[in-house]
Symmetry: C2
Subunit: 348 residues, 2 copies
Amino acid sequence: MIEDKMSQKTNISQLGEFGLIEHLTKHFNITNASTLKGIGDDAAVLDFGSKQTVVSTDLLIEGVHFDLAYMPLKHLGYKSVVVNLSDIYAMNAKATQITVSIAVSNRFSLEALEALYAGISLAAKQYGVDVIGGDTTSSQKGMIISITALGEAEEKEITYRNGAKPNDLLVVSGDLGAAYMGLQVLEREKQVFLVNPNNQPDLDVYSYLIERQLKPEARKDIPEILKALNIKPSSMIDISDGLSSEILHLCKQSQVGCNVYEEKLPLDPQFINVCEEFNLDSTTIALNGGEDYELLFTIKMDDYDKLKGNPNFTVIGHIAPPEEGIHLVTRANTKIELKARGWNALSE
Amino acid sequence: MIEDKMSQKTNISQLGEFGLIEHLTKHFNITNASTLKGIGDDAAVLDFGSKQTVVSTDLLIEGVHFDLAYMPLKHLGYKSVVVNLSDIYAMNAKATQITVSIAVSNRFSLEALEALYAGISLAAKQYGVDVIGGDTTSSQKGMIISITALGEAEEKEITYRNGAKPNDLLVVSGDLGAAYMGLQVLEREKQVFLVNPNNQPDLDVYSYLIERQLKPEARKDIPEILKALNIKPSSMIDISDGLSSEILHLCKQSQVGCNVYEEKLPLDPQFINVCEEFNLDSTTIALNGGEDYELLFTIKMDDYDKLKGNPNFTVIGHIAPPEEGIHLVTRANTKIELKARGWNALSE
């Protein structure tokens, strides 16, 4: 699935390190005024004038964060960028630049790296960020991707995790759990494929879930919409590690409690169907699935009318004083303490 | 050599990803005024006011860039930071922040990671940079370190690779080749150790070379000294990939030629002795060794008097028109075309 076996392959060591960087990065154009110098010197040079700069970084390891058996390289490149930008948007900022470092073992050809960079390039274009630097090297095993994203915002716009106050409303963008169920579908198909490589899976009924897993989008639009609605969130976080885990982070840093309502959790119909097919509890997956790249934020009660009925947002609960704790209120109206069971990259 | 076998080990999966990050980063203090928010949100927040921001990134892979058989983890942490900062100083800028991402396989204990972070922390303190973020995850094999460094400078101070002009003088800081010969000594001792683990090597006569390999320093002082001397270099580059290779980069980007004089290359006496011991040509190693983390820059002829006699600098040649090519002028006064034979991370 990774490579077209018939096409010609170029061994990357033929180009050398500098030749490879030059080859892979020659199509990266500079579009942001804040980018003074991109790739090609010891460091990139940026100028954010009177704005503030935000920085975020992620490290993705083959076999831990992605599986090339069902993740095409172009999608992987795209997703690697999106994952990072999501953190910038979670600061209520505009993403402007990324650096991209890649390490690959010699099982990857030049064409494989080109596919990866095509995805990176597409994401950079889609999100309007400049690729300003990076490092390309060899690994002893598998592929490693490290991306650092930079962004800018006015001082008064930047939204931290620690500003939630009792009675604020808890809001999430998009819907929950689809990326996780997309992964379950892909894992199942991988097993089927291993048993019978000629089996042609019909994945149409899973298309939304698979897209959420393989080609997720970051919510570039949310800071823009919030600004247009004249809403400054009191706190914001991205929910890549799972809703429960991120609610706990937000509440811990804001030193508040919270009530989340099970019946309010926004779920896509395809997600609900596939949870039934897999005999999984949709609430559990929505709370703990992870990789949704949606934004979770809090707003003042007074701002509710501004976003009421907006299809991008769902109010899922409210902030409470710290002594009330952090709970899920079930459909049966019982309160269960919310615990993080999010994806843990360090568990074995 | 990596670990004290008697000490107690803590499995890192016991802490979980967030617990681990918190544990490892709790001692990182913020010291730069430009750091508004460090670790603990989706992104760090910086404010460079009216200055410009420089950004550099590096990816280090166990077995490719370092060998834990002779590289203690604390040294590795220190060196990983230094490698990145060197690129910031090569822009004639002040380093101010770093992000640090680490991936480790489960063969590493918490204590091992603490040693690595102790080195990172020491380097951050030594160089006055704030650790503002990062990512900690698991790898399928070995250790992976990704560091992104940020710095600041006045617009007029920033020095690119492309500003060298014919008749400019070519200057290098420090001395050349020692880090490479340090590596040769360590590789030899590793082989001796594999044959007879009880052999206690006497490495005193190699101390300078080994220090250059295991605990290199970046030239934070050079931008400061140049400023004090009122010299603005016309171009600058760090020579981590080897002098030859970096001279070629600088000349290519500046579209100039260059003559480098063999007799001018600054060599430490210990380096010369050990080259003889290993039966290696000291000029070849000085030109191609790599990992010296010194700075190579060009200055106008008029500025020569300002740095003449300064022990930090050696004038090793001069820039020529492009049609003259790029040559080494040997002690026998013959001209040899300079070729890059620097360390290539992608060759097998």
